[in-house]
């Protein structure tokens, strides 16, 4: 919102103020102003929530108080548009001093350093391995890349922080990884940081290719549970590098209202490629990579629904998957199904799905939900309403439908990914709303 107000002020030369709820103004006038926007936008603030309220409640906010100053809201609006500028509001130009972070921290006791890392929110608040220079140097032997190579610039909440190979190695040490994990973690760094919004975003990390076996990633029993070192340290490294490189701090610039426990490990697991039914290609092969390529894929989403029990003949598994998927918002038509090899076998042998793509296509054609349910999701309101307003189909037509009209929200079957994992202990599966991005070649980072 600050970006919009800044643009209007700079290009139209008129005062522009923001109206937001108090939960977000703190970020807008604090961290965002300091590291991103640079213009001290004036805000007035209404209570939260304002969406989902009856009209009378929102209208009542206008005759209520400004949450920032305690003044009547409209008095605050008038003051924000007419009040004389302060000296601070007239500052222009580059900041006099840039923030610095020394490469080495001042020597201290282990106890104090652990406390410092927690105070800075550089940890996930589980114990870390302290990144001594010796350990980081040893970690860097896991790659041929130079320590000062910039992998990407993290600017999701401002600051344009340059994430280097050395910084990733520091996080890898902290997470408890070994040098052989470093290429995987460097590939993962290209996808950092993890999801961060007012909603409870989470991520999924899928490892594909021969490296799964070389580094002993768990693809079988308990693939998604806390039973394997590689799954644990790679997933944890994503959380640590996201927080350190993104400077993500609770209630400063990280504001997921519920948060997500998935962010501790980002569901890191490997696909059980050896147990795929004939004709079902591994995830990375479906993306166009060679079977021998070592690939890391990251998805972003919020939710998963489990089958809970075994597949039943009375109601085929893909029917239940279809039903459960109708609960998802279908943002970007995205979903990811994770299923035990036994489920994949049933879907192929009993129900005739000869490939993952056939299952994705069937789900795309058969998952339905009402227009009201689709538009009732806040993420869809923020992302698909603009598409509808621009006249883009099918969103423009869907917006005109009666509430009870059924739509098929998963319009793109290629955005419905299928991953097979698990130990053939139970015909178990998850459907999730995770959107998996194109995979990253791990070997590029060796």
């Amino acid at each position: 919102m600050s970006r919009w107000a800044k643009q209007i002020q700079m290009q139209c030369k008129i005062p522009a103020i923001g109206i937001a709820s108090s939960n977000i103004v703190h970020y807008a006038t604090g961290y965002n102003f300091k590291y991103n926007n640079g213009m001290p936008i004036r805000y007035v603030s209404v209570p939260f929530p304002f969406t989902g309220q009856p009209r009378a409640v929102d209208v009542g906010y206008v005759s209520g108080k400004d949450m920032l100053t305690g003044q009547p809201l409209m008095t605050a609006v008038v003051n924000a548009l007419t009040g004389p500028l302060t000296a601070e509001e007239m500052v222009a130009g580059a900041p006099a001093e840039e923030a610095v972070e020394p490469r080495l921290l001042p020597p201290d006791s282990e106890e104090n350093l652990r406390q410092l890392f927690e105070d800075k929110e550089w940890t996930d608040f589980n114990s870390i391995i302290l990144p001594t220079e010796k350990r980081v140097t040893a970690m860097l032997k896991g790659t041929s890349r130079k320590p000062d190579e910039v992998i990407k610039t993290i600017n999701i909440t401002g600051g344009a922080r340059q994430l280097t190979v050395e910084k990733v190695a520091i996080n890898a040490v902290m997470a408890g990884a070994s040098p052989e994990h470093l290429p995987v973690i460097l590939a993962l760094a290209t996808q950092a940081p993890f999801g961060n919004s007012t909603s409870s975003m989470a991520n999924m990390i899928v490892i594909s290719g021969p490296i799964r076996n070389r580094l002993k990633f768990n693809c079988g029993t308990n693939a998604m549970g806390p039973y394997n070192r590689s799954n644990a340290v790679v997933g944890r490294a994503f959380a640590l590098m996201s927080k350190t490189a993104g400077d993500l701090r609770n209630n400063v610039n990280a504001w997921e209202t519920l948060g997500s426990n998935l962010q501790y490990n980002s569901m890191c697991y490997g696909e059980n490629e050896e147990a795929l039914p004939a004709g079902w290609d591994p995830l990375h092969v479906e993306m166009g990579f060679k079977p021998t390529d070592n690939i890391l894929s990251v998805g972003m989403g919020w939710s998963s629904i489990a089958s809970v029990g075994a597949s039943q003949s009375i109601y085929p598994t893909h029917f239940l998957m279809r039903d459960y998927m109708s609960s998802f918002c279908a943002s970007g038509s995205a979903a990811t199904l994770v299923m035990d090899p036994t489920v994949a076998g049933l879907l192929k042998d009993v129900h005739g799905f000869q490939s993952k793509a056939q299952l994705s296509e069937w789900l795309s054609q058969n998952v339905t939900k009402t227009a009201a349910s689709y538009w009732g999701n806040g993420v869809i309101q923020s992302t698909a309403v603009p598409f509808a307003l621009q006249g883009l189909e099918p969103y423009a037509s869907w917006r005109k439908l009666p509430d009870d009209a059924l739509i098929k929200p998963f319009t793109n079957p290629k955005a419905i990914h299928v991953v097979v994992a698990g130990g053939k202990v139970q015909t178990m599966w998850f459907v999730t709303d995770f959107s998996i991005r194109r995979g990253v070649l791990i070997d590029d980072w060796a």
Binding site: M1, W4, A5, I8, I14, P15, A16, I17, G18, I19, A20, S21, F33, K34, N37, T51, D58, Y61, S63, M74, L81, P84, L85, G93, P95, A99, E101, L105, S109, E110, L130, T132, K134, V136, A138, G159, E166, K167, I170, S178, P179, T198, G209, A245, M287, G288, K290, D293, S331, G332, Q381, S382, V385, P386, F387, S435, R438, I442, D443, A446
Partner: protein, 138 residues
């Protein structure tokens, strides 16, 4: 709306042809000890933090002397949908008109809060608005 950003959510793009994997390194064993480089009982560790680049400061546009008879342009960013902002802006419009004889223009941006919409700026300039309000988000 930044369409590239939104379409990236689809997670699909053409595959790249890549070379065979070169990952065949024999990794060294983990270093088990803590190096002591400071005083007795103290250790030195590397800093995972990265210095953030501070934003270049931009001053606010001059405020108005008064709202009397002015035109205010209200931008509905459609955060989580356009309804809430429309409710608020409707009530604010009545209030402005009653107290200041202020005219208002309310527009829902077709790009949403996360996009950029140059047409809004053009429209503000064309309408000769004296001030703007953007919102509502949470």
């Amino acid at each position: 709306m930044n369409r590239r950003r939104m379409l990236a959510l689809l997670g699909i793009s053409p595959a790249l042809v890549t070379d065979p994997p070169t990952f065949a390194r024999t990794a060294p064993k983990a270093v088990p000890d803590v190096s002591s480089t400071g005083g007795e009982g103290s250790i030195t560790v590397m800093n995972p933090g990265i210095a953030g680049k501070l934003a270049t400061r931009v001053p606010l546009a001059p405020p108005l002397d008064s709202l009397q008879g002015k035109k205010i342009y209200m931008v509905n960013l459609s955060w989580e949908g356009p309804d809430a902002a429309n409710y608020l802006y409707g009530a604010m419009t009545e209030w402005f008109d009653k107290h200041y004889g202020t005219r208002t223009v309310v527009k829902v941006t077709a790009e949403g809060m996360f996009g950029t919409d140059p047409s809004i700026v053009k429209d503000i300039l064309a309408s000769k608005a004296d001030a703007a309000i953007v919102g509502v988000a949470g």
